[in-house]
Structure formats: C-alpha cells, structure tokens
C-alpha cells in the first residue's frame, strides 16, 4: 500500500536476467517497501525464476518465450486477478531507477497512463544519427494522437491505473514495438489520458545494448508499419467501454472518491 492507500504492483518482464535481477529487486524493496513485485520469466534458459523467488518476489514462469508484450499481458492479468490499484512496468535489467516510481504514481491522478521518458532534460541518455530521427518522427506522430507531448514513445517504464489494467489484461500487443508504441496509441485512441514524466535512465548493468546504427532504417520501416496498424485498427467495443466517459470508468471514479472520503474521515 502506498502512503495514500493504493496497492501497487511492479511488473518486471525478464528474459535471461539472472545476473542483475537480485540487485534490481533489492533496490526496489529498499526504496519502495510498500509495493509488491511480479517477475515474469519469459522462458529464460538461465536461473531467472530461481533468483527472483530467492529475492522474495512473486514469479510467473511462461512455458516459452512470448516477448515483452506477451509477458506484460500476463502481468496485467495477474494485477487484475489480485485487485491491484496501480501496475508499474519496470525493466529487469536495472536501467530504470525505482526512485522515479513515486513521481509516476503522483501523476496518475491526472492521467491513466504515465510514461517515464528520457530525452527531456533529466539524465544524459543519447541516441544519435538516423535512429534518433526515426524516434523523433515517431514521437511527433504519437504526440499528436495522444494530444500531449511524448518525447520517448518506446519507453518501457510506465504506470497505469485500474481501468487500464483491465484494458491491458484483455488486450496487449505482442509484436515488435507493439508493447510500447502500439499499446500507447491504442490507449490514447480509446480516450485514456497519457502523460510523461522526465526520468534519467542508467546504462545497462549487465549484458549488451541491442541498438545498432545499421538497423536504423529497418527500425523506421517497422515503426512505420506498427504505427499504420495502430492507427487503422478498430478497437473492439468492449475495450472502448472501459475508457473515460463510460459507465465503467464513472463507477471507478466514484469508488475512488468514496475511498478518499473514508480515508479523510478515518
């Protein structure tokens, strides 16, 4: 439980992260004693699941690799099943600093989805050349769709509230860039409010970065296709009925208000 009475689950999608995972979980436990964690082991061939369990985290092990999107839908289903108020996605490789999680949580009052974004002041994460242009183009288009400035659309550091947990538990893309860009665009198109919070990201503690300047062109083409699909796709009615303005969302707001009053009285 957070100080203001919300239950928070941190979901860490992990694929062969046994080396750094216990440090990451230890840091979360130390800085955020009030949250629960779930490590989704996505068919790792190393000891990721054992390491996570030894560090005291809940673990969900997939039978084979589904990719980040597949792992995240499992995470959101777990959050829904256990009735969490907030779900936060954090990378298992230690690049996301858990000390920014309270900042994400603080902005959930004004938005349904809060993204921890690089490239806006905080930290000195740098990408250069064509890949940078591709990312800028992507963020310009996505910002227009979401009607708010989003400088880092491929960030996997994000927090969402209960209606969006329900949304993502039913629908979460598994394709390349789908888990970041497409999920963001779909939520925004359905009417959920998105905001970004500047964060600093750290260099990898273990392993090698996956970026290569040669692949920038392929990246741009694939990003374009993902964006095209995200824009032409029609979201099913039962998903749109979870968004702000619907009876389901109104019920959620009412419950939130009632709980706040109860907390104020008690």
């Amino acid at each position: 439980m957070t100080p203001d009475g919300r239950s928070v689950l941190i979901i860490l999608p992990a694929w062969n992260e046994a080396d750094g995972l216990s440090a990451v979980l230890g840091e979360i436990k130390q800085q955020l004693p009030y949250v629960d964690t779930l490590v989704v082991d996505d068919g790792s061939s190393d000891r990721t699941a054992e390491v996570a369990a030894a560090a005291g985290s809940a673990v969900a092990r997939l039978s084979f690799n589904l990719g980040v999107g597949g792992a995240m839908r499992l995470g959101y289903r777990y959050a829904r099943e256990h009735g969490y108020d907030v779900a936060v996605q954090v990378d298992a490789d230690g690049q996301h600093d858990p000390s920014y999680v309270p900042a994400l949580l603080a902005h959930l009052g004004e938005a349904d989805l809060v993204i921890g974004a690089r490239f806006c002041g905080e930290g000195e994460y740098k990408v250069r050349g064509p890949r940078r242009w591709a990312m800028q183009l992507l963020s310009a288009i996505v910002s227009r769709i979401a009607r708010t400035r989003l400088s880092d659309t491929t960030s996997g550091f994000r927090a969402c509230n209960r209606p969006l947990i329900e949304f993502f538990a039913r629908w979460y893309p598994v394709e390349y860039l789908g888990d970041t860009v497409e999920s963001l665009v779909a939520a925004a198109r359905c009417g959920f409010a998105v905001r970004q919070v500047p964060v600093a990201m750290r260099a990898r503690t273990t392993g090698r970065p996956s970026a290569s300047p040669v692949k920038a062109m392929i990246y741009l083409v694939r990003a374009g296709l993902v964006l095209l699909l995200a824009v032409i796709r029609r979201m099913p009615k039962e998903l749109r009925e979870l968004a702000p303005g619907s009876p389901a969302y109104a019920a959620y707001l009412e419950e939130l208000l009632a709980r706040r009053q109860l907390a104020a009285e008690g």
Binding site: S63, F64, E175, L225, V226, L229, I232, R233, R234, P236
Partner: protein, 121 residues
Amino acid sequence: MQLSTLTSITGIVVLAYILELLRRQQLREKYAAIWLCIGLVVAPLGFFPSLLDSTARSVGVASGVSLVLFAGFVLVLLVSLHLSWEASRLEAKTRTLAEDVALIRSQLAESATPSGGGEVR
C-alpha cells in the same frame, strides 16, 4: 467482358479484404506485412496486365500474363511453405504446454495427498 476488368476487380477486392482483416485485428503484423506487400503488387497488375510484357520478354517468357501466372504459382508455394513452418512451431509449443499442464497436475495431486510427499522437485 475484358480480361483487365476481371483482374482489376479481383485485385481491389483482395486488397480491401486484407485491409479489413487488419482493421479487425484478425491478422498479426508478420502476416500483415506479407499480405500488404502482395496486395500492393497484385492490385496495379490487375489494372494493367500488360505491365510486365517487356520484363517478361527480357527473361525469356512469351507474355506478361504467363510471367504473372508463374510468379503467382511460386508465391503461393512459398506462402504455403511458410504456413507449414509456422504450424510446426505451433505444434512444438502446444506439446510443451500440454507437458507443463501435466506437470502442474501431478504437482497438485502430490501436494493434495499427505502421503505423496509434496516436495517440489
């Protein structure tokens, strides 16, 4: 009726059907990319079946239409090969899933009966 009428209508219908399947989220991205490319090549060829005549002659085929038939046949062959490959992967995955379910069942049964030990591996 002219040949180009038939082929152009077919081209447009195929492209529209692909787009509609994409819109309804019935096709995954990897298949979507293949079919969009195929659709975008097939649709203009439907309007101008003679478009490939000169290309055909330069590779030694008498007419563009025969070249389209040949290319279409090779394409269908490749697509069905790809589907067989995907089906093989899916079978391997369902097998893993069935084994996992059986393992979980046996674990549940062991932890339910007190004499069964109940230790986890």
